[in-house]
Each structure stands twice: as structure tokens, then as C-alpha cells.
């Protein structure tokens, strides 16, 4: 007989925040206001950590979080005029292949962000997104989203779905978001010194006892 004090064998499945945002993580607006525009992006590195936005196991994304800056009225007006009336974003799951090719394999509905500017907001998902070990959690922004923390060390960087030809990595106007039928792109554009201020709530699939 087992002792009545015996605890269950290790907990199976675990809630983790992929890309957890530390307390001081905040988007630059309004002080130094920059926004993500018309792309799909993921955080490639935060300091020495290269795997912060990769699923640690097979499981589900059940919610996502974004820490939004609060642009001034003037900044907002510029963003709206250039990139669309409503700031929007969605969390997506990217499968990785050779040569920085990434493919969207699951995506959440787009979320309007206007009412949440200046807050850190968590959106629970109606349908969870399946994710496999090693796949990336990314953000698709079809218009604009003030979700960038700037002036960080060069060992913190993110990648985007923009074309890498010529100066296209700095082309904020063309739509490079992986939307509709466009599900795949090369993520060659790398941007250093910046943190995208999003994370996702992950629950691993339970493992039956052997």
C-alpha cells in the first residue's frame, strides 16, 4: 500500500507564458513612438535567449497578451492616415523551415486594439491554437500596433515577413502581413535593439502515465 501522504506523480501538462513580459516591458509610445506596421513578426532573441518565442512542447495556445503604448493624438492620426483607421493584431503560429522560411499553421482572429491603447491586455481565445514543439508564436499586424519597446541591447532582435530585397526591410507601407491566402514568407529581415511586446499563454498536452 502506498502511504496516504504520497503525492500524485509529477503534474502532467503545464501553463507557461511564451515570451513572458517582464514588469518593465512597455511599448515606446508616447515618448518614442514607433509601431509595427503591415507585417507578420516574431521576437528572435531577448538577450542571450533565442527560444523565448518557441513552444517548449506540443500543446495549445489558449490566450495572448499585448502591452500597448499610448500614442498621442498626433501620432495616432499619422498612423491612421498611413496604415489604417484601426490598430489590429492577431497571434499566429509559425512553422519553421530552412533558410528562415516560416509558414502560418494556425491563427487567432484579428483583434481591434483601439480601446486598449496604454494597457497590457490579455485576450482569451474562443478556439485554442494547436502548436508543436519548436514552432514560433508570432504577431500579425495588418494595419499598425504600438507594440515595440526600443533602445534595447543589440542582442535583442525581431524578424519580419517583409521582403529582404533592397531597402524593403524598412518598407513600412507595403502589406507584408501573412493574411488571407498568403501564409508563407522568408523572415530574413532582422531588427536589432527592439522587443515586440507580446506573449502567449501555452498549455502543454498531457502525457499519459507509461
Amino acid at each position: 500500500m502506498l502511504s496516504s501522504l504520497a503525492l500524485p506523480a509529477g503534474a502532467s501538462a503545464k501553463v507557461t507564458e511564451i515570451g513572458a513580459l517582464a514588469e518593465g516591458t512597455a511599448a515606446g509610445c508616447p515618448t518614442e513612438c514607433q509601431a509595427l506596421t503591415r507585417l507578420t513578426a516574431y521576437q528572435a532573441k531577448v538577450g542571450p535567449d533565442r527560444e523565448l518565442y518557441q513552444a517548449p512542447a506540443d500543446g495549445m495556445l489558449v490566450a495572448w497578451t499585448i502591452a500597448l503604448g499610448k500614442p498621442t493624438a498626433k501620432d495616432t492620426s499619422v498612423f491612421e492616415q498611413r496604415y489604417g483607421k484601426v490598430p489590429q493584431a492577431a497571434v499566429v503560429v509559425l512553422d519553421s523551415a530552412a533558410k528562415l522560411s516560416r509558414t502560418v499553421v494556425a491563427k487567432a482572429p484579428l483583434q481591434k486594439l483601439t480601446d486598449y491603447l496604454g494597457t497590457t491586455v490579455q485576450f482569451p481565445l474562443v478556439r485554442s491554437l494547436p502548436i508543436k514543439k519548436g514552432q514560433y508564436v508570432a504577431l500579425t499586424v495588418p494595419t499598425w500596433a504600438p507594440a515595440m519597446q526600443i533602445n534595447l541591447g543589440a542582442d535583442t532582435s525581431w524578424r519580419s515577413s517583409r521582403a529582404s530585397t533592397g531597402s524593403d526591410c524598412l518598407n513600412t507601407e507595403t502589406q507584408y502581413g501573412l493574411l488571407g491566402k498568403r501564409t508563407s514568407a522568408f523572415f530574413r529581415c532582422l531588427y536589432k535593439g527592439v522587443r515586440l511586446t507580446y506573449s502567449a499563454t501555452f498549455i502543454s498536452n498531457p502525457m499519459p502515465t507509461k
Binding site: M1, L2, S4, L5, L7, P8, A9, G10, A11, S12, A13, K14, V15, G24, A26, P30, T31, E32, C33, Q34, A35, T37, G59, M60, V62, A63, A67, T72, K74, D75, V78, F79, R82, Y116, G118, T119, T120, V121, Q122, F123, P124, V126, R127, S128, I150, W158, C169, L170, T172, C189, L190, Y191, K192, G193, T201, I203, S204, P206, P208, T209
Partner: protein, 222 residues
């Protein structure tokens, strides 16, 4: 080295301190009915199981609201701390109560006179492979829940998810008929078209060993 995209033409505003943080986080993750490390189904020692019922924990010590949603939101996963019945115990339960151990989490809307109605439910989960574990099941379709609604557990067969021998201020309620509170064999679980029952039956000194992961709906700032 490539630099990140810079939005040209924007005025840098320095009126707000650079260290200003976003306003308080909107939406919050909570474990409804969080299980302490020592909470688990009592098998194999004093092996009891929940059978053919929908149940919810009414009280744990002085706390009556432990299994009620603190706000509107969604249940994104559920957890069950399962005892580990021996082979003989498992065979006994399977023979009497309808095969393998199974359970699902449900959302119960409270009505008058302890009537509770299932307003959302997860798929049934076979538990056999998880005996002896505290296991968490993420939901492919998360469940909507409103403030004050209960998280219940539906067990159409049996589940070793009962911790016994606790104080009399800890109790759970079941969907069993008032005249059959001790009837472990009749099917009283709220399954199929049966979505409503009065939860008159109260069982003291026992804890159902389940919990649910809740995320509140985001609130728009004032």
C-alpha cells in the same frame, strides 16, 4: 546591420516620463478551485470515486465562492488530481459504473432552490492513462463563463477524484435526486439532453479534486 522600421514624420513627445508603464493589466488568469499540492483523489488507500453524477465543490473550509467565476471570461483548461486505484479497485469500478473512468468540466448556471443548468461543457476525457497524476487538459474550444456561474465536474462513469476525511466545513453537491443521495449506480450525470437538476444532495468532509483555468474577458479602460 539592419535597423528596425522607424516611422518618419512623427514628433517625439517627451511630456510623459519615459518610465511610464502601461495601465494595469486588463484580463487576468486565475485557477478556479486551485488545488494545493497535497490535494488528490484518495485511491488506493481509502479508495472512493465520484460515480454517475455531476458535482461541484460547494465549500472548502470557510470559502463558499471557490468554484464560482470571479468575472465574465473563459475556461481555457481544466485540471484533475487523480488517485491511483489498484487493478482490483479499477476492475470493480469499471464493472459497476460503466467502463473506463471519464470526466468533463461543465459550466453551471445557478437558479433558485439549488437548481443548476449546464450552459457549457467540454468533451469527455478518458482518465485511465492519467491515474496517480495531477493532469491538466487544455480545451480546443474554450468555454464561456459568466461571473457567479459554477465550475462543475460531470462523471458519467466513475473518477477517482475524491479526497475524503476532511473537516465538516468542506462539502460538495451533486445532481443526484434528493431521495437518492446515496445512490451511486443510477445515472444522474447531466449528459445528453439532460442539462438541469436540483443539487440538493450535500456531501460533507470531501473535496472533489478538480480545478479550472480561467481568463477574464478584457475590460476596456475607463
Amino acid at each position: 546591420m539592419r535597423s528596425h522600421s522607424r516611422i518618419k514624420g512623427l514628433t517625439v513627445v517627451v511630456l510623459v516620463a519615459a518610465c511610464a508603464l502601461p495601465a494595469v493589466a486588463s484580463a487576468k488568469r486565475t485557477e478556479i478551485g486551485a488545488l494545493a499540492d497535497d490535494v488528490r483523489g484518495s485511491c488506493p488507500d481509502s479508495c472512493q470515486a465520484v460515480t454517475r453524477a455531476t458535482g461541484y465543490q460547494a465549500k472548502v473550509g470557510p470559502d463558499r465562492g471557490l468554484y464560482q467565476a470571479p468575472a465574465n471570461g473563459r475556461i481555457v483548461a481544466w485540471t484533475i488530481a487523480l488517485g491511483k486505484p489498484g487493478p482490483k479497485q479499477t476492475a470493480f469500478f469499471e464493472e459497476r459504473y460503466g467502463g473506463p473512468a471519464r470526466a468533463a468540466v461543465v459550466v453551471l448556471d445557478p437558479g433558485e432552490k439549488v437548481v443548476r443548468t449546464v450552459v457549457a461543457k467540454s468533451p469527455l476525457q478518458v482518465l485511465t492513462g492519467y491515474f496517480g497524476q495531477t493532469v491538466q487538459f487544455p480545451l480546443a474550444r474554450t468555454l464561456r463563463i459568466r461571473k457567479g456561474q459554477y465550475i462543475g465536474l460531470t462523471v458519467p462513469s466513475w473518477a477517482p477524484a475524491l479526497q475524503i476525511g476532511l473537516g465538516s466545513d468542506t462539502s460538495w453537491r451533486s445532481s443526484r435526486a434528493k431521495s437518492g443521495c446515496s445512490d451511486l449506480t443510477t445515472q444522474f450525470a447531466l449528459v445528453g439532453n439532460r442539462t438541469q437538476a436540483p443539487f440538493h444532495c450535500l456531501y460533507k468532509t470531501a473535496r472533489l479534486t478538480y480545478s479550472a483555468t480561467f481568463i477574464s474577458s478584457p475590460k476596456q479602460p475607463d
